[in-house]
């Protein structure tokens, strides 16, 4: 059926256009990956695409760039910092948001609607509006430049979207679930842990990937609240500083960039299904 329906395009042109677009999209990343395994001399002498002239010559690749950036330039430490920031900054807001989304969806309380409309508005308030007052409070409390400080900040910033997405899912659960459980004498907390949470696993998976990628890839929040000191700075902050100091050392920059991209890419490709579901459930955050 679909075979006949493209009079503008012949079938061949269609394939050609799609493959060309896919190539344009993926070539820059391939260039990065290839360059990160080439020696400085090779990078200076020729472009990364020349390796495809001898596709089976594996002797021209080296791991030295990775050794240099991870050990000497401190990207290894930055990787650890990013993990130490991202894991709590993903778990804490999802925990808090789950409770809130459940209450917004299934409990009656004064101001429920009003608070939720505010929440929808907060989805798009630019973070820039909050940076200075929060930094001042953090400075007073000694939270600036510490991991707990940035965990809290990411929790606050992540909550609107996470609550919104979980609310959309939890409010769609059938209401009989709640009626029959309450009749059986289950408390609201039991209903939450025994019924709502297990049923919400797909939605929880979506928001986990969202929040994880958002925090892992964040530059602005880390720049403001953590700064560039090596013992706390995450990958994004360290690598953007490298651009200034190692601007033409492509083999090092590309290796550092790939270290920062590897884990999110694996997670993303593995859990793409949930990520797409989350987006389709109404994502408006930026």
């Amino acid at each position: 059926m679909t075979k006949k329906l493209i009079p503008i395009f012949s079938r061949g042109t269609l394939h050609l256009v799609i493959i060309a677009v896919a190539l344009i999209w993926i070539l820059p990343s391939i260039g990065l990956l290839v360059t990160s395994f080439r020696s400085p001399a090779d990078v200076a002498a020729s472009g990364w695409w020349t390796v495809f002239e001898h596709p089976f010559n594996f002797t021209c690749y080296t791991l030295e760039n990775y050794q240099e950036v991870i050990v000497k330039i401190g990207i290894g430490r930055a990787f650890l910092n990013t993990l130490l920031i991202t894991i709590p900054a993903t778990i804490i807001p999802i925990l808090i948001a789950s409770f809130a989304a459940y209450a917004f969806a299934w409990m009656e309380f004064p101001g429920r609607r009003f608070l939720f409309v505010i929440l929808v508005g907060l989805l798009v308030v630019p973070l820039q509006m909050t940076l200075i007052p929060i930094l001042r409070i953090f400075n007073k409390l000694g939270l600036a430049g510490t991991f707990p400080g940035i965990w809290f900040a990411h929790t606050g910033y992540g909550l609107p979207l996470i609550i919104y997405l979980l609310y959309n899912f939890i409010s769609g659960l059938p209401s009989e679930l709640f009626d029959s459980s309450s009749i059986d004498g289950a408390t609201s907390f039991q209903i939450f842990t025994k019924i709502v949470m297990p049923l919400s696993l797909p939605a929880l998976a979506s928001v986990t990937i969202f929040q994880f990628l958002w925090v892992w890839n964040d530059l602005l929040v880390a720049l403001i609240y953590l700064g560039g000191t090596p013992d706390v700075a995450p990958l994004t902050v360290r690598i953007s500083a490298l651009v200034g100091s190692y601007g033409q050392d492509w083999e090092l920059l590309t290796a550092a960039a790939f270290v920062s991209m590897a884990l999110p890419l694996v997670l993303f490709l593995g859990l793409q299904r949930y990520f797409v579901k989350g987006i389709l459930a109404g994502s408006v955050k930026g």
Binding site: K4, L5, I6, P7, I8, L14, V17, I18, A22, W25, I26, P28, S29, G31, S46, G47, W49, I96, F99, A100, F104, M107, L122, V124, V125, P126, L127, Q128, M129, T130, L131, I132, P133, I134, A153, G156, L159, P160, I163, S182, S188, L213, N217, D218, L219, L223, I239, S240, V243, W250, L253, T254, S260, M261, L265, F268, L269, S283, V284, G286
Partner: protein
């Protein structure tokens, strides 16, 4: 569900507290200190705002943000839509979609380095490292310093990095919406002799309009806040600065909290129409429930 009066607050309490502490209170506070001097000690009226609308670099930043909106939003939405419709017709759809979607997992810092390398420039006599200049050399053209030629080429090159990272998002949302259009409808139009072009304009576009609006507003919000790409690739040099990067500079390089807050407030005002659209859409959804 029936509960006593206190229980709901135990559930929403922590979230509401954090939302007020990290978003509501600071926003109000920023609006307030935007009328004060650099360390918030002296009230100076609208001087910070006057600065924003008269300073040359600020005006350039506004122009650049406008350029981002004008080029970035239509390009991402249009390219995303076209890809969504085209890949629907081939068997390897999911692979192509994954490739286009993949940059969503990459940080703007990572994307900045990937593309700084694509745009890399070396003088004409040496071997080019960047693929764009290598292609130019292959056609006997002079290599170009893409990120330095102001004001159009370098801004355009930065915007393309944004397009590369975000088009996948548009494609995924629009693809889901496109697949919701009943196939019989398109078939019927074809049988009646409508051209593909006509079907696109008269059937597909009108049916997808609500989704297109959502995607376009989301893109507009994102692009007004664009920061990472510019920060990493040019740091706003060569007339490429944008509002969010100016705010960062006023805050961290010049320690002028008054001006920085004023810039943040202007950013918020630019985004407010989108907030209103958002709340309206939410209320409409609630009405359907």
């Amino acid at each position: 569900m029936r509960t006593n009066r206190i229980t709901p607050w135990l559930y929403v309490g922590p979230a509401v507290f954090l939302l007020f502490f990290f978003l509501v209170y600071p926003s109000i506070n920023s609006a307030y200190i935007s009328f004060f001097n650099y360390n918030s000690e002296k009230f100076i009226g609208i001087k910070n705002y006057l600065y924003c609308f008269t300073n040359e670099i600020m005006l350039t930043s506004f122009r650049n943000n406008a350029l981002w909106v004008i080029v970035f939003v239509p390009t991402t939405v249009f390219v995303g839509l076209i890809i969504a419709i085209l890949v629907d017709r081939v068997k390897y759809e999911s692979i192509v979609k994954s490739i286009i979607f993949m940059p969503m997992a990459i940080s703007f810092v990572g994307a900045g380095i990937i593309w700084k390398f694509v745009y890399a420039y070396r003088p004409a006599m040496s071997a080019q490292a960047g693929i764009l200049n290598a292609i130019r050399s292959f056609f006997q053209l002079e290599p170009l310093p893409w990120l330095i030629i102001r004001p159009w080429l370098n801004n355009f090159c930065l915007i393309m990095v944004g397009v590369w990272t975000v088009t996948g998002f548009c494609m995924v949302v629009l693809s889901a919406s496109y697949k919701n259009i009943p196939r019989e409808l398109l078939e019927a139009a074809r049988i009646d002799g409508a051209t593909e072009f006509k079907i696109f304009w008269k059937i597909i576009l009108p049916l997808m309009k609500p989704t297109l609006v959502v995607v376009a507003t989301t893109m507009t919000i994102n692009v007004l806040k664009v920061f990472g790409i510019v920060y990493v690739m040019t740091n706003g040099n060569f007339d490429t600065d944008v509002i969010a990067n100016r705010m960062y500079k006023e805050m961290f390089m010049f320690r002028n909290y008054g001006r920085a807050s004023a810039i943040a407030c202007i950013l918020l005002v630019l985004i407010i129409p989108m907030i209103i659209i958002n709340i309206k859409r939410f209320k409409e959804q609630e009405a359907i429930r």
